[in-house]
Amino acid sequence: MIAIACVLIYLAIGRGFEPLLLLPIAFGMLLANIPVANLNSYAAPYIDPVTGKEMAGSLIYYLYQGVKLGIYPPLIFLGIGCMTDFGPLIANPKSFLLGAAAQGGIFFTFIGATMLGFTPQEAGSIGIIGGADGPTAIFVTSKLAPDLLGAIAIAAYSYMALVPIIQPPIMKLLTTKKERAVVMETLRPVSKIEKIVFPIMVTLIVSFLVPDAAPLVGMLMLGNLMRESGVVERLSKTAQNELMNIITIFLGVTVGATATAERFLDPKTLKIIALGLIAFCVGTACGVLLGKLMYVLSKGKLNPLIGSAGVSAVPMAARVSQKVGQKENPANFLLMHAMGPNVAGVIGSAVAAGVLINICK
């Protein structure tokens, strides 16, 4: 286990795999697997059977409560909301469809995981890796299958780091040269009032339809409302910096420290890693395929490459769309069009998370 943790540390530092989360996760894993030190997320307070004295739990155990009780992921979403510009999505709401299609990877993998013998709870947690959204994956897993937290978080963040390698071949395979070269119309400007109404509307609609997604979507949209309102800049700045950094450290270390040897060194872990990759690939493919359909329906106005951005992994997946598109036509500037499905994918996977929690809990 310690060797695995060291490999992950190398990936985080040496290869730059999502270091903000993978480094704390890997170090948490290291701590959790030092014998006797008892620095894992399960070291609860207990009554010493010999002396009868009450013994405190481990530091990690206390910090882990924020994961267990579902507090950290929504707070990270609060910070992400403060950072995210939903403008491209408001300008082109059809992007929502691409963000929905890319969730196909989640449910496809759910079937696959069930076939491999995982329980529905575990299958849901594995599927959500395809959402390409760290906090969403951790939120779902902490509710459905907390024992898999370590493996799922590592798979999710690793594949998010690998998006620029995983996605392009799939995108090229599924599209023709002509489709990739489509230059899209410039997006209309979005007024401030639309940007303010948007988070309120999304919160209401999503929470009504999928109440279990409300903590994630609600906090994401509160952050976004704080950003777009422009009147609470000091709150918004703290939410997206200090608060998010503190939570990220605690979340990373304690999620990593759930990965004790008996939980992680299991054939399940390898299956999870394989299924996670499938989830990413299928999600990308679904996004691109719906993109192709919309290309046809829009009579060639929509570039199907922006569909792959629907998996989230903001903004890396959108940059991949931009880069692949530019290879065909150097004057093509898809980035802003891909940001629409990209941020829609965040909402989409939160909705999918709500559905999975509701059905499997």
Partner: protein
């Protein structure tokens, strides 16, 4: 297995239903707001919408403006713009002087003091 397929179908239906409903609402909001605000500022949108009027159905202003310029140059400029604009592609268009809803001394008060706590 049957359960899994059921979950998958339910899941995709709910996800699509929710996001299609959102698509519709956001589109509606855009329509409503633009019908409200259009009459007030008729000049600005027009010039913005037709940056290069003679070319009907211009695919995009960028592509339009690049006629006669070698592809490499466009690529370089485009890449530079892309890297500068990062995740906030509309930075320039959406910059606006914030509406001063309070007299200046009130606004100053909000910024620098303990008032709202």
């Amino acid at each position: 297995m049957d359960f899994a397929i059921l979950v998958t179908i339910t899941g995709m239906v709910v996800v699509f239903a929710a996001l299609i409903f959102l698509t519709f609402c956001i589109w509606l909001m855009g329509k409503l707001l633009s019908s409200f605000t259009k009459p007030k500022q008729p000049a600005a949108p027009k010039t913005e919408a037709k940056p290069a009027a003679p070319a009907p159905k211009a695919p995009a202003p960028v592509a339009n403006a690049t006629a006669g310029i070698p592809g490499e140059v466009v690529a370089a400029i485009s890449a530079a713009v892309a890297s500068m604009m990062g995740g906030k592609p509309f930075a320039v268009r959406s910059i606006k002087r914030k509406k001063q809803t309070r007299p200046a001394w009130g606004a100053a008060g909000i910024v620098e003091n303990t008032r709202p706590f």
